[in-house]
Amino acid sequence: MQVLSSIGSQLVNVCSALLLLTCFAIVAQRRLSACVDLFALQSAFLVVTAALVAYLTGNQHIYIAAALTGVIKVIIIPRVLKKIIDRLNVKRELVMYINVQAGLLICGGLVMLAFFISQPIIPLGSLLTRDSLAIALAIVLIGLFTMIARQKAVTQLVGFLVMENGLFLGATAATHGMPLIVELGVFFDVLIAALIAGIYTNRLQDAFDSVDTSRLTALKE
């Protein structure tokens, strides 16, 4: 039993580490469609992590949350985003507020910060998901950073979704999942938010012939 739970804990750690790896790939990626693909990949890793936690803790309702993640974040949202990208006249993001190399270093710093902050909490948590919490916090911070550093509405949306992935991982890791009704509400929210952001992106494209959100500062009375 001891060995099984130790192997399980290592598997959960590896899956969380893979989530973090895809985060860095998103930060370094300039092509919009590749960013969306990487987000879908990250969500797939999240499904595996959640399913592992569900199996190891025996909480049935995490399976439902994992399945919903699979349907919404791996299939529906990437499809919607791909459709939006097809309409756009840009395929890659060349100008950013913070360039890729500096962005990568800052994200490395954010991971250290996340580990440093969660250091006092980790020994209190259950053995299974010890350091997934730190990784989840790091993913939330990197998602936030992506939203700040990028100019295009689509990549800002991907940043938002990455943040949400981080929150879901944190919730699964720290408390073995929120109550199902809360999870359902969150999924609904994310889906609606993604759709609204999609419409917003389309409107931006129509109004400015660009999805560069910095153009919005030109809107004055």
Binding site: N13, L21, F24, L104, C107, M112
Partner: protein, 316 residues
């Protein structure tokens, strides 16, 4: 003593014999994936044999560095190869250097190659040299950090110890996450250092993109043969490093003839699989623009840093 000498000779022979095979295998895989028949896997051996027979042509404007470089590059790469466990975990040369020596032996070869590129005075040589210097200065920190992440988990910087401990699963019961990060970083470094596709294209002599080919452009005859062979050796060294550090199982942990036989077979299968993987990757990805290479190597550096970080987090 006799045993150690035999092992040294055996490892040298294996490395020298296997490196043209790897180059040929990658070319063959790429050709097949592009629906070409491709040259035989043994073609690089024939190329080397032919080049060794030809007379080298040396420009009158070059200094001794130009003539000495092929020998220095070949010798330093081969010495580096002797520090890496290949088919047996206890390399006979392990007393003479650790991981850090390995990294800087390879760097010595790169340094002289850059000098030789400049020495001939052609525009391409200088261009290739400056590009190689960019790539080398960016891969070095990533390589050192990823290797330290591995060395920390094994508690030693001696490659033989690292590989031996992992092979017999002794004292390395830690989480695989640091290893995973270090593996990703080291793989990117290996692609960059050996001039494979996202960084450099070994198949063309296009002046806008070439790095390694630009530096060796002025070489001919046996000098070119030595440099080509050294490039193949470097590939073999990196592939051995990756396979044996991250998945050493099957390697000979004793010097019994049976164990060494199995180790040799497993070693060749493992590096052949990795070479096929590189060939497939080269078909899937286009070469990066030179100024985007820094992004890729930045990712490698951050990954290696995270590997180190994970080690400390998991230990605390």
């Amino acid at each position: 003593m006799l045993e150690a000498t035999t092992l040294i000779v055996a490892q040298t022979t294996v490395l020298l014999a296997v490196s043209p095979f790897l180059v040929g295998l990658i070319r063959k895989v790429k050709a097949r994936l592009q629906l070409r028949r491709g040259a035989s896997i043994l073609q690089p051996y024939a190329d080397l044999a032919k080049l060794f027979k030809k007379q080298p042509v040396i420009s009158t404007t070059t200094s001794w560095i130009f003539t000495a470089t092929p020998y220095i590059v070949f010798a330093s790469t081969l010495t580096a190869g002797l520090l890496v466990p290949t088919f047996t975990s206890q390399t006979p040369m392990n007393f003479s250097g650790n991981i850090i020596a390995l990294v800087y032996l390879l760097a010595l070869g790169t340094f002289f190659l850059i000098l030789a590129g400049l020495d001939a005075g052609s525009a391409f040589g200088g261009m290739g040299g400056s590009r190689e210097a960019i790539v080398a200065s960016l891969t070095e920190p990533a390589m050192i950090l990823s290797i330290f992440a591995i060395a920390l988990t094994a508690g030693s910087t001696n490659l033989s110890t690292v590989v031996h401990k992992t092979a017999v699963l002794e004292g390395i019961m830690t989480d695989p996450s640091p290893h995973l990060m270090a593996l990703a970083a080291l793989f990117i470094v290996a692609l960059a250092e050996t001039g494979r596709v996202p960084v450099d294209n070994p198949a063309t002599h296009l002046e806008l993109t070439m790095i390694h080919e630009a530096m060796v452009l002025e070489y001919s005859g046996r000098h070119l043969a030595l440099l080509e062979w050294a490039a193949g050796l470097k590939l073999a060294v990196f592939l051995s490093l990756i396979t044996n550090v991250f998945a050493p199982w099957g390697i000979a942990t004793t010097v019994a003839p049976a164990a060494i036989g199995i180790g040799l077979l497993v070693y060749i299968i493992k590096i052949a699989v990795l070479a096929v993987l590189i060939g497939v990757l080269e078909c899937m990805f286009a070469k990066l623009r030179l100024f985007r290479v820094t992004d890729l190597l930045g990712v490698a550096f951050i990954l290696a840093l995270l590997g180190l970080l994970f080690f400390y987090i998991l230990r605390s």
